[in-house]
Amino acid sequence: MLFTEVTPIAPMNAVALESVTKIFCQRALLTRCVREQVHALSNVSFELGAGEILGLLGPNGSGKSTTLKLVSPLLLPDSGRVTVAGFETRSAGQAVRRRVGFALASERSFFPRLTARENLEFFAALEDIPGNECRTRTEHALLEVGLADAAGKQVMKFSSGMHQRLAIARALLKRPQVLLLDEPSRSLDVAAATRLWDLMQELSQSGIAILLATHNFAEAAEVCDRVAILQKGSLLALSPCANQNERQLRDSYLHITQEPSLVPWNEEVPA
């Protein structure tokens, strides 16, 4: 066997970020001196349990997508530790990738000349799923996101919403322990969004941990067990959102992001 499984170091949480910092540097072409530093995440810590849905809220550039990429692990942290099911992303990337499904926000992440089914079968094969099982899981995933009728259509003819649903179907192919969703309801119509929320809740009930980056307060209020509010790479608040409706959640968010100095880290979101 080419790659051996690494033993998990702390198998308690589905996802754990411990004092994670991520800085993007822009360097001068010749001298390689640092011209500009962007603190995408500063000392962020949180945990996500199996079957839990955690919403990441925050303005553009607050670090939501960076957080997802660190868990995926498309990015590696500059300091701190990210673990998935006890596997650290830096030292056991392969084990992490086997457990994480990622629905990217970008529309352009498929082969446009292939059909939805052909795309999914291709990506399923890369997930070490045997041939016959690839087809079964593809059909099942297409059905789950409501794309069974469009399975034979080339992806270049898809609308934004269909791309979005196909990305979610792709993330589900490997039956992940952790599902990362980057603005999944963007471009979805009301019916498709509602169907997606139902699906998220079904998945969480089956034990899948979901990390959801969103700007949609209705979505966060509807499906999330907890929300984390990020701003300029800092975690301003982390709180359960049970019994909060969309309006209450939005008010809390505005209060916290406009007056961040009033809320110490990880304090409960005021209802």
């Binding site: 790659f3 993007f24 392969q94 990506f123 890369l126 997930e127 070490d128 690839c134």
Partner: protein, 264 residues
């Protein structure tokens, strides 16, 4: 499991190629046109010019055919990364359970397979159409191909790594390809070059690939010369392949660290 992956990648590449219909047809026509060009070029040069003791037409066919096969193979590594960056699939591919170097090798399979078929057709057409005498060492030819492939893969890994780090791997490959085109004995024998360039050409792996291949097809009796070329190729393979793997792994890690995986 690897067979499932190979099948999936080849199927994806074939479906994509067929659905770009015009490009597919042009790709089928262009080797025939190239073959005709070589024929008329060799006729213009005349039959008295016999580089390395063979007809100029076959010298051209083997030189250009094998050079094109290797360069296209190297380009396929770069192209795999570039295309994945431009279509936006790279980030997702890097989150799959298949390790990145395996993915990269899988992505180049159809290019290498297509290039190999084209090279065999080139040589076979040349031999059949122009009734050229051959003295083939099949084992020698296969060994030259295998070692040349390892070298091409190593250079391809460097190119892919450069694409990840400086996003302009194509510029470096263009330079390398031009040097090889000039000095590796593709269109004319190396001894036509000035002495300093001949010495430099000796350190280009392609020079030994092309000479080795010509010897294996047309002069199998000259085993000492063929063995000499194979030794050079084995040396380049052993030196370049681990370096290529190491360089690609290093650039990939840096791209993950600096968040530049999808930049192009």
């Amino acid at each position: 499991m690897i067979l499932t992956k190979i099948t999936a990648v080849l199927r994806k590449d074939l479906l994509t190629a067929v659905r770009y219909r015009n490009g597919f047809v042009f790709n089928l026509i262009s080797p025939a046109l190239q073959l005709a060009t070589f024929y008329y070029l060799a006729r213009a040069v005349g039959p008295q010019f016999r580089p390395d003791g063979m007809s100029y037409l076959m010298f051209l066919i083997v030189g250009t055919g094998f050079y094109t096969f290797l360069i296209a193979g190297i380009h396929s590594f770069l192209h795999a990364i570039q295309e994945a960056q431009q279509t936006g699939t790279l980030e997702f591919l890097m989150t799959t359970s298949t390790p990145a170097p395996v993915l990269l090798f899988l992505s180049t399979l159809s290019s290498f397979a297509g290039g190999f078929v084209q090279f065999v057709l080139y040589v076979a057409s040349g031999i059949l159409l122009f009734a050229t005498a051959v003295k083939v060492s099949l084992f020698g030819a296969l060994l030259v191909i295998a070692l040349s492939l390892v070298i091409a893969a190593a250079i391809g890994l460097f190119a892919a790594g450069l694409q990840l780090s400086i996003h302009k791997g194509s510029a470096v490959l263009w330079l390398l390809g031009s040097c090889a085109w000039l000095m590796a004995g593709t269109l004319f024998p190396v001894n036509a070059l000035p002495r300093p360039l001949q010495l430099l050409s000796n350190w280009l792996p392609f020079t030994h690939s092309l000479t080795g291949m010509r010897l294996a097809i047309f002069d199998a009796g000259n085993q000492a010369a063929l063995l000499h070329e194979i030794k050079f190729l084995a040396f380049f393979s052993c030196a370049l392949f681990p370096a290529g793997i190491g360089f690609f792994a290093w650039t990939l890690r840096r791209a993950r660290q600096y968040g530049r995986l999808a930049f192009y």
